[in-house]
Structure formats: C-alpha cells, structure tokens
Symmetry: C2
Subunit: 255 residues, 2 copies
C-alpha cells in the first residue's frame, strides 16, 4: 500500500496546464457537450493533480472539496470491510468522472492504481456551474447511467461467473477500454500493459490472488492470451477470449 511507482516506463507526469481544446479526453468527459464559453470558464477554474500507484485519492467517509475527470491512468474505487476483506467496486479510466455533485461525503475509497492525473474543479464552483449548464448536467446524467449499467454487468460477473470467466472478462474489458482511451479500434493481436497488480485484480474480481494467478496460467496454456511478463498482455483472438468470458453478444462489457 506504499506510494511507490510500480512501473519504470513513466516518469512523474508533467503538471503543465493543457488547454481544454487540446485535451485527450475532450470528446467523452463531462465537458464534452460544453460551449466555448462554458469551456473557457472550466479552463479558468480547473487544475491538475497527480498521484502515484497505491496513493489514496479519497478515503471512504471523507468529505471532499473537489470533483473532476480522470485524464491519465487508472483509479480504483473500493470498499474495505472491517475484517480486511476488500472489494473493488469501480475502475475509472481516462474521461471517467470522479466524485459526486451534491454529495460531499465519499462512499468508497478511491486509490490510484497506476500513475494518475486528474483534472479537478473546486466542488463549490463546479456545482454552481452545473446548475446553470444543462449540457453538462445532461452529460453527467448520461455518464452516471452508463456507469450504473457497468456496475450491473459487473454484478453478473461477481454473482454468477466462474473464476476462469471472471479473469477472461476482465482482460476483455480492460483491453476494450484502453483501446478507447488510445482512440484506436479493438483488433486481434492487441498488446497492452495491465495497470493492475494481481492483488488489485483479485479485489476487483472477488477472488484471491492465487486463483487469479492460476486462471491466468490456464488461459496462457490454452493460448487465449500471451504474457511476456506479469504485466504485458497480448490477445491473439479477441472473440475467442469473449467466448471464454461467457458473454453472449449482448451482455456485459460496458466497464
């Protein structure tokens, strides 16, 4: 749980103030429907914050004075039970919104899973803006509804899928979201670096690290995935992986 970087490939993210119009997540974040004027206001009140892997962003029960978007990296929302059991209940990728308007008290822990950069706004200013900016409020409602769908898909995974299906689903979802972040299509043979440790995965999937590790080994042996090291994943046949995930066409995959 120490605030130590786990990857040598990233240095400390620059704190440079990126113009909104050049922002990588401009097309999908809360601000995606804003007019130039509204954007200018956001530009004035926004700031950036960075976090190292394992660093706590918000503690459960804490009152937060900011809200914002994930610009870079991966944020885990999790619940720690009093006896130490942990369940991750959300995984935020770039463009996802963090924090809840009108509800200052955080219902879950938010932890940086990888190196993270947030674009944050002071709560009071953002809430005021929200009240007079229907476009943004609508976008936020849309995003919240999508997140609710994602949470429900995850409930299916947690309640009914086998360990093997859980791990396969996880890989399918992460590769899908990372492709989206990179603005590229999801093709066979995608390679990616897993942002999570085995422990994080286990907490997300409702399993133990040992079981996660065993299922990864099994998927490797079957040729459904390839791993050059513990973090670097290649998916030779995406549809074959989906098959193993137990998802029939329609269901799931809205992380």
């Amino acid at each position: 749980m120490a605030a130590r970087p786990r990857s040598a490939t990233r240095r400390d993210p620059p704190v440079a103030h990126v113009r909104c119009k050049d922002c990588m997540i401009r097309d999908r974040a809360v601000c995606s429907n804003c007019t130039p004027q509204e954007l200018e206001f956001l530009e004035a009140i926004k700031s950036y914050r960075t976090f190292r892997p394992g660093e706590e962003i918000v503690a459960m029960g804490e009152t937060t004075d900011f809200l914002g978007s994930v610009v870079e990296g991966c944020v885990g929302l999790s619940h720690l039970m009093s006896d130490g059991r942990r369940q991750m209940v959300g995984l935020l990728f770039p463009s996802d919104f963090i924090g809840r308007p009108m509800r200052p008290k955080a219902p879950f822990d938010a932890v940086a899973v990888s190196n993270v950069r947030l674009c944050v706004f002071a709560r009071s200013k953002f809430e005021a803006l929200l009240r007079e900016t229907p476009a943004m409020e609508q976008r936020l409602l849309e995003m919240t509804l999508d997140e609710l769908d994602g949470a429900r898909d995850w409930m299916v995974l947690l309640g009914r899928k086998s360990a093997r299906e859980k791990v396969a689903t996880f890989f399918a979802i992460v590769s899908r979201r990372l492709a989206q972040v990179r603005h590229v299509a999801l093709s066979d043979g995608v390679s990616l670096e897993l942002p999570l440790t085995r422990e994080d995965m286990a907490d997300y999937l409702g399993l133990t690290i040992e079981t996660v590790s065993r299922q990864i080994s099994a998927l490797k042996k079957e040729g459904l995935i390839q791993m050059s090291d513990a973090r670097h994943l290649t998916i030779p046949d995406y549809n074959a992986l989906l098959e193993a995930a137990g998802d029939d066409g329609d269901g799931g995959l809205v992380a």
Copy 2:
C-alpha cells in the same frame, strides 16, 4: 414464470387515477422537486399500469416507449446468461424510477416480483419535459447516483460476503426499504412479508435456492429471525442482524 398471483391478500390493484398531491411516493420520486405547474403537466400525461408477480415488464434489448416510477410493489432487474444462469442486478421499490431517459433500449429484463403498479409517462413527452425542467433532471441525477451507490454496495456483497452474510444483508435491506415505503421508523420486532420467492432471492444474492434455504434455517435456529411461514419474517433485534450481515456501521444498506 407464469403470470399468476402468489398472494391472496391483494386483489387486482385499482386503476383509479390518483392525484399527484395524494400520491404515496410524492416525497421521494422523480417528481418530488416539481413545482405545482410541472406537477399539473405530469398529471396530464401520466397513466397507471399494473403487473402480476412474474409478469415481464420489459425484456432485455427491447425498445421501450415509456418511463416511470414504481408506485406499489417490487420490480426486479435481472440478466439471463445464455446457459440459463440468472443474476438479479437491481430491486426497485416504490418511488424508484424505471427506465432510462435518452436510452430507449433496455439493458436488462424488468420483471414484476410482486403485484406492481407503475406510474408511467410516454418516453417522448417525459424526455421533452425533462429537458425544460432542471428540478426533475437534478432529482433524477441524484436518484441515479444513489442507485449507483446501491449497486456498488451490492458488489461488495456478491464479491466478498459469505452465504450467511448475504442472506442476513438481504433481510436487513428489504426491511429497511419496506419501512421507508410505509413511512415508519425501523424498529426492533418489525414484521414483514417477503416480496420475493426463494428463487428470486437466490438470483439476487448470487446463490442457489438450496443454499438460501439452508442459511435461512440457520438464522432461524440462532434466533436472529423468526418466520411464521416461508414469507412472513420477523426481526427481533435489528442490530444483531446487521452484525450477522458483516456490515460495520458505515458500509452498505443503500438498496
């Protein structure tokens, strides 16, 4: 799955048009922040629909032309996997909203769990109203955020709780929500009729009916609950039940 009533205590609900100001869920539904004018408009476009236990309200993938509030009874949202596994992903009580604005395609099945009465609006009319009624849009955002929290609490249950804890949590939540519906405080010694069959509970908890049944028997033997028949539940000591649910003060219980 037949559309048959499971309880003899209710006759067919009356289809009488209740005035909004007399509505039982007026204080917590989407319309709770509406002005008298807005309410009048709602009054004009609303209608009631009733469903019998087991009756399908919306099928997954179906395009729905209505949205609305649960006025009476209990609605289950569930996902059916292609091999027959089922996971319930939401349980709607009176005042909960059903359907998603701007997203006509239903992502899950919605099934009446008990006798249900909905207050419904034509999608197009409601969406138009929503666009020009910030109070309602804000309320809907609020409700959606609460539902997201509820879904995440349920993820903790599905991913990390034992069968015993799952059943105890379920009883705690249902009694809490039913007390809310009845506008009474949650006291020790509450009695209630479970709106769900053992199968529905199993689907909600990610268990089998046999396991649910065994855990209920165990809780009964320990005196944490009393059951006069399979549906009628009494909780002599609510805090003791919470203890068995594995919830430490803060967590959970936002159904």
